[in-house]
Amino acid sequence: MSSAPSSPSRFAPFTAIMRREFAGYFRTPLAYVFLAVFNAFAVSLAFFVGGLFESGVASLDRFFLYHPWLWAFLAPAAGARLWAEERRQGTIELLLTWPVTVWQAALGKFLAAWLFLACALLMTLPVAFTVGYLGNDGSRWNIITGPDWGVIAGGYAGSLLCAGACLGIAAIASALTRNQVIAFVTGFLACFILVLVGYGVFDELLAGVLGSGGVDEIRRLGLWRNLEPFTLGLVDARPIAYFLSVAFAGLGLSTIIIERR
């Protein structure tokens, strides 16, 4: 054969894995179902539950309000296959006996999944354009304020970071089992708890156990609590650090689990 073992670029395994994983989402109908479900729920919740249209405000905070719920459900759905599928098919033995480190494989897989979630999010851009269009035209909408594109872009960035955090949790769940259903349910439950943190009823329950001081600390870990500043146009390092920490802690832990399998 013409290509003897060479000294491949350090990025060759990483980019090959990322490309394969990203394309892998579209090899089955699941990806299209996923994108359709995400869009249908994202738009329906904003308009029919959040009353985005009736609010008369050219802002997407009512749209982003439901994103932690959506990501808590759909990021584990997209992330369940990361390692569970490799284990089920036995391909993990193949992949990890090719010249690739577990870190390269894990990062390639994680970023491909995050990119897939970004595609789902980008498909909701017509909502932003609709709000922008109506917000610029007082005759069509009883306008209170025009659209602030910076705030809208911030909301999208925050939502994408929130998706990454949920994906980090999903990666851990996927590394622990060969069953995608178990990986999904475990990942969803863990994300669901982070969604509930910060909601009144759940906080009251926690306050009964931990006292009000403890609840304040835990409330900082809630997904919405950290996403909200983005939707209000507030640029703060803390929520960025929070989402990235959860995402990369999940990535790191899943890598360690695979390394010690």
Partner: protein, 234 residues
């Protein structure tokens, strides 16, 4: 320098000692028939050599690189086909081999895929998804990914398992063509393969090496190889 070296490899799963103090080395041009009953520790030893599982103690080296410490360098010189030849079933044969070539950073991945498809006689199924292939073709795909980079070391876990006589002949033909330039380990249950393909035989049972000798010496143990095998692995 031997291309494959196992030094005092041991591995336990809970209280079960799967591999116990296994040592051997393989030079270029040698084809080792790795024999043993089911559960003898063949696959575990091969997985340790390939870097898939870590040994509890002992070291494994491929082309002079210690598998645990210089894992990526060792794996660049290794072609490994696990038992059952797992592959990404949703990919076509061509896509799968291209992925293997890209991941290995081969200089001309398209040419490597083309040549490997020809070598393993997979051209006619190149556009088929792996899930739709017969077992014989799947095994050949597993073999193809192991040789796409023309490695110095080949470790094949039951590469002819479940193949019909024609398919077995094909795999053996390809291996014979390559064997002089490589160090090869093949695990098998098929004792006739020893005479046809191997230059040396290692018999393992209950995690221990029971016999490590040349093919001729092994064949001279008796006319009935099944009886020889039973005696060695008892």
């Amino acid at each position: 320098m031997p291309l494959i070296e196992a030094k005092n490899l041991s591995k336990s799963y809970g209280v079960i000692r799967a591999v116990s103090d296994v040592s051997f080395s393989v030079d270029r041009g040698e084809v080792i028939g790795f024999l043993g009953p089911n559960g003898a520790g063949k696959s575990t030893t091969m997985k340790m050599l390939a870097g898939h599982i870590r040994a509890d103690s002992g070291t494994a080296s491929i082309a002079g690189f210690e598998v645990a410490a210089e894992s990526v360098a060792a794996k660049q010189h290794l072609g490994y086909s696990p038992e059952g030849a797992p592959a990404y079933g949703e990919m076509t044969v061509r896509e799968f081999l291209r992925f293997a070539a890209d991941l290995r950073g081969l200089a001309d991945p398209a040419a490597s895929v083309r040549e490997t498809l020809a070598l393993c006689r997979l051209e006619e199924v190149a556009a088929q998804t792996i899930d739709t292939l017969s077992k014989g073709y799947r095994m050949r795909v597993g073999f193809a990914q192991a040789v796409i980079h023309d490695p110095e070391v080949l470790i094949l876990d039951e590469p002819t398992d479940g193949l019909d006589p024609n398919q077995k002949f094909e795999v053996r033909r390809i291996l014979k063509e390559m064997a002089a330039r490589k160090a090869v380990i093949i695990s098998t249950h098929i004792l006739e393969e020893v005479g046809e393909l191997c230059t040396r035989v290692i018999v393992i049972a209950k995690g221990e090496v029971r016999c490590d000798e040349s093919r001729d010496k092994f064949l001279a143990r008796g006319p009935d190889l099944n009886a020889v095998f039973r005696k060695l692995t008892a």
